[in-house]
């Protein structure tokens, strides 16, 4: 029996593996869609900040026996609000405010986590442990994916125009500020759910890499989001397979598959690919050298 087929049989026969695969795939889907919004809005670093800032929330949730998801979400949103506050009330650039806030949250998280009798290790939070996904966590991911994707489809028009030109959208009467906040909340929700599959350190890769791959191959915002979703899902399932086949950690395996797809698109994209643009340059240079016009010095 071939390895991929064996993987498929095991998915059917081992519920924990199936749960892990379903969770990873739906998170891959929603990350690709939300990631497209994020990279076009220049919020990649914000995603990174939120993912690191969830740690104190996780620790505090353990301490009070509360739902980890909500603790992490509150913590991530607090960090986003803090970044926004420093940003609009000082002359510091945004990447600086991001650096200040997320490292403070991360540091607090590490200390708090060491003080609580946590059932999840720091290792699992940092690098993810998708194989430990519980049925309720899986359903949570599925619901989040369905809700966020539906909202994005419904409000596509509003998201498109506010992302492309916020000033124009405001002049048209679109509630630009409210939409910005909604996007940040969606980013925080997806980030917190993705921590489960790939961990704090690698979340930003799930958000940014498949969407960036899609960007290189798309001429339309809607196409970019669909391709982002497809690449996110493919990264998840192929990453899971490689992790199963070669006994690798699943989070890093997923991220490396996403990266491999990006490299292929970067080199071979029909419009923006590195290989084609270099070839075109070379051809243009040759044709200029061989054309008689250039030797005469006239056009």
């Amino acid at each position: 029996m071939s390895k991929p087929v064996e993987f498929f049989y095991d998915l059917v026969n081992y519920p924990h593996l199936a749960r892990a695969a379903i969770t990873a795939v739906v998170i891959g889907l929603v990350s690709g869609v939300v990631g497209s919004l994020i990279i076009l809005r220049g919020l990649s670093l914000m995603g990174d900040a939120i993912s690191h800032a969830v740690m104190p929330g996780i620790a505090v949730s353990f301490f009070f026996g509360a739902n980890i998801f909500f603790g992490a979400l509150v913590s991530g949103l607090l960090a986003a609000a803090g970044i926004g506050f420093i940003n609009s009330n000082s002359r510091l650039k945004r990447d600086t405010s991001i650096g200040i806030i997320f490292t403070a949250f991360l540091a607090a998280g590490v200390i708090l986590l060491a003080r609580t009798e946590s059932s999840v290790s720091l290792q699992a939070i940092l690098f993810g442990d998708v194989l430990a996904t519980s049925p309720s966590q899986m359903w949570q991911s599925v619901i989040i994916t369905v809700v966020i994707t539906t909202l994005i489809v419904m409000f596509y028009k509003q998201l498109q125009i506010t992302t492309m030109d916020a000033q124009l959208a405001t002049a048209y009467g679109f509630p630009t500020k409210m939409i910005n906040y909604a996007v940040l909340i969606a980013l925080a929700v997806v980030t917190v759910s993705a921590v489960q599959t790939v961990g704090v350190i690698l979340v930003v890769a799930m958000l940014v890499t498949p969407a960036a791959t899609a960007f290189l191959l798309s001429k339309k915002f809607s196409t970019m989001m669909i391709l982002g979703a497809v690449f996110g899902m493919l990264s998840s399932i192929m990453g899971m397979y490689f992790s199963y086949r070669f006994e690798l950690q699943s989070g890093p395996a997923i991220v490396l598959v996403a990266f491999a797809m990006f490299v292929l698109a970067f080199l071979l994209s029909p419009h923006q690919g590195f290989v084609w643009t270099q070839l075109h340059k070379l051809r243009d240079r040759r044709s200029i050298q061989h054309s008689p016009a250039s030797q005469e010095g006239s056009s």
Partner: protein, 243 residues
Amino acid sequence: MPADVLTIDNLHVSYRGVKAVEGLTLSIPAATMTCIVGPNGSGKSTTLKAALGLVERTAGAIRFFDQRVDKVRQRIGYVPQRSTTDWDFPINVFDTVLLGTYPRLRLFQRPGTVEREVARRALMRVHMEEYAHRQIADLSGGQQQRVFIARALAQQADILLLDEPLMGIDAASELNIIEILRELVSSGKTVVMVHHDLSNVENYFDHIIMINKRLIAQGPVAEALTAQNLTATFGANLLGIGE
């Protein structure tokens, strides 16, 4: 005397404590081609943005068609400076023009056949129909500006506010844009343009507003564009160079 379509009364705007506009009062009569001129930092763009509510104002009253701006946004077209747009955004020329129809659509409504026809006609008026499927990132400055004009046409607004649309574009695009705007004015619409090139004011516009953080002069170009007003707006240097 036609009614004023836009009135600004005692507008004050500050950015981080620096006063950009100090007590500006002006009015723009209907069906005129009006330019707003003034030196760098005189608050020309800021005035347009404050009128549209894009920047916060410290004080002042803004009335479009004698109503609050939020009541009449559909009727107000805006052409921002080209630099505010993300030109790498994945969208083609036609879909960019189609954005102009968005203010008229209901919450979950998508542009349909009617809107696509409106966009197609707007694109033809700026002679860009052959670029319909081109990505906006691949356009020249003049072409980008014509796409913006087409988008504003697709909005079918009654007043058009343009922020330095002629800056850094080719002569053919400039003539095309001015011709279209003059047509709009003859059909009863109002055009307000932030403008920097004094040499063609008399050819392009019939109404002028000269500001330097506050109103210096306003009125028909023939009456308001005087040496005295120019000196008051730009300082003595400008005329010194001209002599």
